[in-house]
């Protein structure tokens, strides 16, 4: 098995999960509390990666990362590195691609928190942000964990977007799924089988954990 690819995939998945918690929770909180009439637009943008072919997303990201675009030029000026075909670029792509898998469970869990508990907290003098921290988040925790786990598992298995944005650079952008593709192309079925089995087992366990958490949160 390609250990460098395994290490890279796990690192990418961990960083992506943390980033999705940091970005996804505020978005989910905003979606459950806002009365803005066009919030469907935000919901649609967040959900877009669910229906968009990964290659399309990857193509647009590649354009955005290129030295000719302001984003790519700015990042190169700041760090001396290119976003395209780099680990950072891969991480940015994974965050955007993973957003719906995190935000949707977060939003569902936060929406289930009884609004009167939030109001009770306000009437007891607690500010909105600390109310989120002390009341909404603890009560939505099973859903938040489920979302994080889904995002983690999904990052492990990404292929199309990775291939477009990251290419196949060992130690930099060569993830587990790329390594499986490579092994099959070289007719190394034994190696591809081992890696695939690993991903299968991980994915299955993740789903078992997620569903049991969701069941518990529904019963609670």
């Amino acid at each position: 098995m390609d250990l460098a690819a395994l290490r890279l995939s796990v690192l990418l998945a961990v960083l992506n999960t943390l980033a999705l918690l940091a970005i996804g929770l505020p978005i989910a909180h905003w979606l459950t509390t806002t009365r803005w009439r066009w919030k469907v637009l935000v919901e649609a943008v967040v959900a877009l990666p669910l229906v968009l072919p990964p290659t399309v997303l990857g193509f647009y990201l590649l354009l955005a990362f290129s030295p000719r675009s302001p984003l790519g030029r700015g990042y190169f000026a700041a760090t001396g590195r290119s976003l395209a075909f780099s680990f950072e670029g891969l991480l940015v792509g994974s965050i955007i691609y993973g957003l719906p898998f995190a935000v949707q469970p977060f939003t569902a869990a936060l929406a289930r928190v009884d609004q009167r508990l939030v109001e009770a907290s306000y009437s007891l003098g607690e500010a909105p942000l600390l109310t989120f921290w002390r009341v909404s988040l603890p009560l939505a925790l099973p859903g938040v964990i489920a979302g994080a786990v889904l995002a983690f598992a999904h990052t492990l298995g990404e292929f199309g977007m990775v291939l477009m944005v990251g290419g196949n650079i060992p130690g930099e952008t060569r993830t587990l799924s790329i390594s499986i593709f490579d092994a099959v192309e070289q007719l190394d079925y034994a190696s591809a089988g081992r890696t695939s089995l690993l991903l299968l087992v991980v994915s299955f366990s993740v789903l078992v954990v997620t569903y049991s958490l969701q069941r518990r949160s529904l019963l609670a």
Binding site: L117, G125, E126
Partner: protein, 368 residues
């Protein structure tokens, strides 16, 4: 302390417009009951006072503070109003213990001081043995006390209670009613209680505000509002009921003799009665007959001799106001009104059976 004055107006997309204007003096700690049928906007008024809903227009002033003023675009958020709010179904934090619930508002207080205050409040409410439990394993009555303790812990300046007893089963409600009144008196915090329950209004309130058909219809002492409704809307909302302050004279055979005005009445002994109370008699339960030639002794029949003060037609019935030691309203048919010649000044006797007199205690009796 000043006055709580407000003018709250709120329109609902597919519903009525709620409008309530009121000035409530807060100098003595008094319990004001906000009474009205469901849909009258009681809860809306309470939520606007708490800052959880925003009135479309108007103002809310608490003493010198302006909590809301639509003209000046001023809104003080609920966090900075210093109110204690009791939700109808209590809204306890399910993931926190009873102690953590009570101490919730005391986050900025040092841990030791917080624990002292939580203990103090828990003892006041007799829940000091429940502190480590979670709301999920408490009875309805216990939950109500925890919610009350949570609201009281930060020493609010105003208590708002939304149907505080409606989530309880009937026996618990009976038990907690008197207790709640005593507690509200003891805390010394001015309170506003929303209710649509007449007995609750009588048992808890000093002052009563009737909210019906989109506005405040009457403000006054509880028994005054019940006995002398200001208009037909209030009369329909509070029912035709005589409510008069009563005090216990003696008990015998499960009956209680109470003094009401200059009269004495035998009623069923409600228990836990040792002080202030209200005697309630439905106007339909008063039977009128010709005044006897000689006065009879007071019996369980409660024969009261008096004079007619007024008689007005009310549909097929006649509403007769009597003076028989206290003000008593009776509803009789037109034919019997004619037979008895019920004109103002005429003598008449009123009969009220003991079971038809309901005694609502206002301060709890000794705990047995």
């Amino acid at each position: 302390m000043g006055t709580l004055s407000f003018d709250i107006q709120k329109r609902f997309a597919r519903g009525p417009t709620v409008r309530a204007t009121l000035d409530l003096p807060l100098d003595q700690a008094r319990v004001t009951v906000l009474y009205g049928p469901s849909g009258a906007g009681k809860t809306t008024v309470l939520r606007c006072l708490a800052g959880l809903d925003v009135s479309d227009s108007g103002y809310i002033r608490f003493g010198e503070e302006r909590w809301f003023d639509s003209a000046a675009r001023r809104f003080v958020p609920p966090q900075r109003r210093g109110i204690g709010l009791l939700f109808q179904d209590y809204a306890l934090f399910p993931h926190l213990t009873v102690a953590e619930n009570i101490g919730y508002a005391l986050r900025r207080v040092a841990a030791g001081e917080r624990a002292t205050r939580v203990d103090e409040v828990a003892r006041l409410l007799h829940i000091d043995d429940l502190l480590e439990r979670r709301p999920g394993c408490l009875s309805g009555g216990q939950r109500q006390r925890v919610a009350l303790g949570r609201a009281l812990a930060p020493r609010p300046r105003l208590l708002l209670l939304d149907e505080p007893l409606s989530a309880l089963d009937a026996p618990t409600r009976e038990e907690l009613r008197g207790e709640l009144r005593a507690l509200l008196e003891r805390t010394g915090i001015p309170s506003i209680v929303v209710t649509h329950d007449r007995v609750e209004a009588m048992a808890l309130g000093d002052r009563m505000v009737v909210l019906a058909e989109g506005g405040v219809r009457q403000v006054g002492a509880v028994h005054e509002v019940f006995s002398a409704p200001a208009d037909l809307v209030v009369a329909r909302v509070v029912g035709t009921e005589n409510v008069a302050p009563a005090s216990l004279v003696e008990r015998r055979d499960g009956l209680a003799l109470v003094a009401v005005g200059a009269a004495r009445l035998w009623a069923l002994d409600p228990g836990r009665l040792d002080g202030e109370a209200y005697a309630c008699i439905r106007a339909e339960d008063v039977v009128l007959q010709p005044a006897p030639a000689t006065a009879t002794a007071t019996s369980a029949r409660n024969e009261l001799v008096g004079t007619v003060r007024a008689a007005t037609d009310e549909g097929p019935l006649v509403r007769v106001t009597l003076d028989c030691g206290f003000r008593l309203v009776a509803l009789v048919t037109r034919s019997s009104a004619r037979r008895l010649a019920l004109a103002p000044g005429a003598p008449v006797a009123a009969l009220v059976k003991a079971p038809a007199i309901r005694i609502v205690p206002r301060s709890p009796g000794e705990r047995s």
